[in-house]
């Protein structure tokens, strides 16, 4: 491991970071644009005497992860959009069973099979989940290849620290992009899992990791407990970035790799005399509702810029709660919104124009 920067593709950066984080098992099934993660790890894990399984399906893969992490080891799978849809059942179980699953979603276009154009259409799928029941997942959204490394490290740590599934929500642009990144050492302490991990009932009571509670009171309490845990996660782990926020009249808000272009658009707007700032949630779940609410109360308007039909937009509106104006600048998939398109969109909404879709 080195602190020197290397030029590396996002997918490979995630894979190597998983190795550095001590991921003992990778289970996966190919799908573009994340296949390089499995390809890289197939060789690397064997070389290191760790486990790599070409699963029969994404259903198989995520359930293998659940089995592996139940024994206290770090394990992960990676996939993309329509195939992550297949894993939603397991994520609901993993949240209920408090299993530290790590799932990387390198988003492509949907709905349905869609295509391999980059997109950010899985915000709702990740943040609100496609599984049944009341559960919450921790969702981290990297915006650079360096953050692919840093947030993969954080994903493994948070998963075990809180015994909660974590999704690293990247996208095809980031997965396929080469950028300089340094790996350093895995920066987090090892979490003690000995109090719950399954290792065989040697010298202790047998352990069951279970969500079945054929007892109404226990079931109610279990759901309350899961939500109390997530309140602690929200308190401790909510992270975001801000740029030029103090004097900003309009706050460009984006997640993941769209963050890159709003920073550039902010500079262009500033050069034109428009007081623009940037806000970028790093954790999409827990979402920084409180901070957005504070900024709205100071009268700052928001322009949410995303590659979907307004998924994070709704969370920002919810946080703003009518205290200021929130507009959407978006495209559902394909070529990332350019700096020029974002600037034009912001100018238009600031003049009270139609906010919807910068390319219309």
């Amino acid at each position: 491991m080195t602190t020197e920067k290397v030029l590396i593709k996002g997918n490979y950066a995630i894979a190597q970071a998983a190795v550095n984080a001590g991921c003992q098992c990778y289970f996966g099934y190919p799908i573009t644009p994340q296949t390089e993660i499995g390809e890289y790890l197939s060789g690397k894990m064997q070389e290191l005497g760790r486990a790599y399984v070409c699963a029969e399906s994404e259903l198989g893969a995520i359930n293998m992860v659940m089995g592996a992490v139940s024994t206290g080891v770090k394990a992960m799978t990676s996939s993309s959009s329509c195939a992550v849809a297949l894993m939603q059942e397991a994520l609901s179980y993993a949240a209920s069973d408090e299993l530290p699953v790590v799932l990387v979603n390198v988003m492509r276009t949907g709905p349905g099979l869609g295509y391999i154009y980059p997109a950010q259409g899985d915000y709702n799928q990740a943040v609100y989940g496609g599984g049944n029941g009341d559960y919450k997942i921790i969702v981290l959204a990297p915006s650079t290849v360096q953050e692919c490394v840093d947030l993969t490290y954080r994903a493994f740590y948070l998963a075990q620290k809180y015994r909660n599934p974590v999704i690293l929500l990247a996208d095809g642009l980031l997965g396929q992009m080469m950028e300089p990144a340094s790996f350093g050492e895995y920066p987090y302490p090892e979490v003690d899992v000995s109090g719950w991990a399954l290792t065989g009932a040697k010298g202790r009571e047998a352990r069951k990791i279970y969500s079945v509670a054929p007892d109404e009171k226990k079931q109610i309490q279990h759901i309350y407990d899961l939500h109390k845990k997530f309140e602690v996660i929200a308190e401790n782990e909510t992270t975001y970035e801000e740029f030029n926020i103090d004097d900003a009249e309009i706050v460009l808000t984006a997640f993941g790799s769209m963050t890159r272009n709003i920073k550039a658009a902010m500079n262009v707007l500033r050069s034109k005399g428009i007081k623009a700032g940037c806000f970028r949630p790093v954790t999409l779940s827990p979402f920084p509702h409180n901070r957005i609410s504070e900024l709205a109360l100071k009268g700052k308007d928001f322009a949410v810029v995303e590659m979907n039909m307004g998924q994070m937009f709704k969370d920002v509106k919810y946080a703003v709660d009518g205290k200021s104006k929130v507009d959407l600048i978006n495209r559902p998939c394909g070529e990332w919104l350019s700096v020029e398109e974002i600037v034009a969109g912001v100018e238009r909404v600031m003049q009270g124009g139609k906010a919807y879709a910068a390319n219309i």
């Binding site: 293998m64 089995g67 992490v69 139940s70 394990a75 069973d97 399954l198 290792t199 279970y210």
Partner: protein
């Protein structure tokens, strides 16, 4: 006084089976408990659970277990075994869990030759939900979702699980047993032991399909139900060892 009969040590101390009267799950679970005792592996076991009546095994065996969604027991078990190759890993499913919703996971686990032991209770119906047509429902059998009986044009055919698993190159042992008589119960125990032993020896996937009665959903007395196992199930699902290496 010499104690000549007791519960297996790997079973919980105080429990009463919650299965319907005459159900064979209790016998199967006890046999697994006895074999775990005889092999001395209770403290090394991590099991992945199923969904259906089979999931109650975990109320009676005193072992570590992790929940898997319906049909995913073998995928979960694969994860456990790859993470902890030194542990003894087994699953216990019904025919619906193992061979309908979980067929892909089950068969691919056999094809990969995972050192895992799997048991499948075949009672030709979905027992927990009240007796619907399942992957092993016999031709002509009436269930709540085949009210006029299973016919090929409407419902297709039942699967012969143990024979299919035996065809997988990664399978080290595949057998079908029954619990209808004392003699067959003894043979079943031998097969259960063998299915664990191939795992312990690192030979590959060990599998036993266990023909079982479901008097409640078959609307029969326990005695009639065992007669049905003999007269109707065994001609379609013959007992025997289909693969042993």
């Amino acid at each position: 006084m010499q104690q000549i009969f007791s519960k297996p040590k790997s079973m919980k101390k105080d429990f009463r089976y919650t299965f319907c009267p005459g159900c064979d799950h209790g016998i199967a679970i006890r046999l697994i408990g006895e074999v775990i005792d005889e092999l001395g592996v209770r403290e090394e076991i991590i099991s992945s659970t199923s969904v259906g009546c089979s999931v109650f095994l975990y109320d009676f065996l005193d072992i570590d277990a992790v929940e898997a969604p319906h049909g995913r027991a073998l995928a979960s078990a694969t994860g456990v075994k790859r993470a902890r190759p030194d542990k003894v890993v087994f699953t216990y499913s019904g025919d619906g869990d193992f061979a309908s919703i979980g067929l892909a996971e089950s068969m691919h686990t056999a094809l990969r030759g995972e050192n895992i032991t799997a048991f499948c209770i075949n009672n030709t119906t979905y027992g927990m939900t009240g007796g619907q047509l399942g992957p092993t429902t016999l031709m002509g059998q009436k269930t709540t979702t085949s009210p006029t009986g299973r016919n090929k044009d409407y419902y297709g055919y039942p699967i012969k699980i143990a024979e299919h698993i035996a065809l997988c190159d990664g399978t080290a042992f595949s057998a079908r047993v029954s619990l209808d008589t004392v003699a067959n119960i003894n043979k079943a125990k031998q097969a259960i032991k063998k299915a664990f032993q191939v795992q312990l020896e690192g030979k590959g996937f060990g599998f036993v399909e266990i023909l079982s009665s479901c008097p409640t959903n078959w609307h029969m007395t326990p005695e009639e139900a065992h007669e049905r196992v003999r007269n109707e199930m065994m001609p379609v699902f013959p007992l025997g060892v289909f693969k042993e290496i």
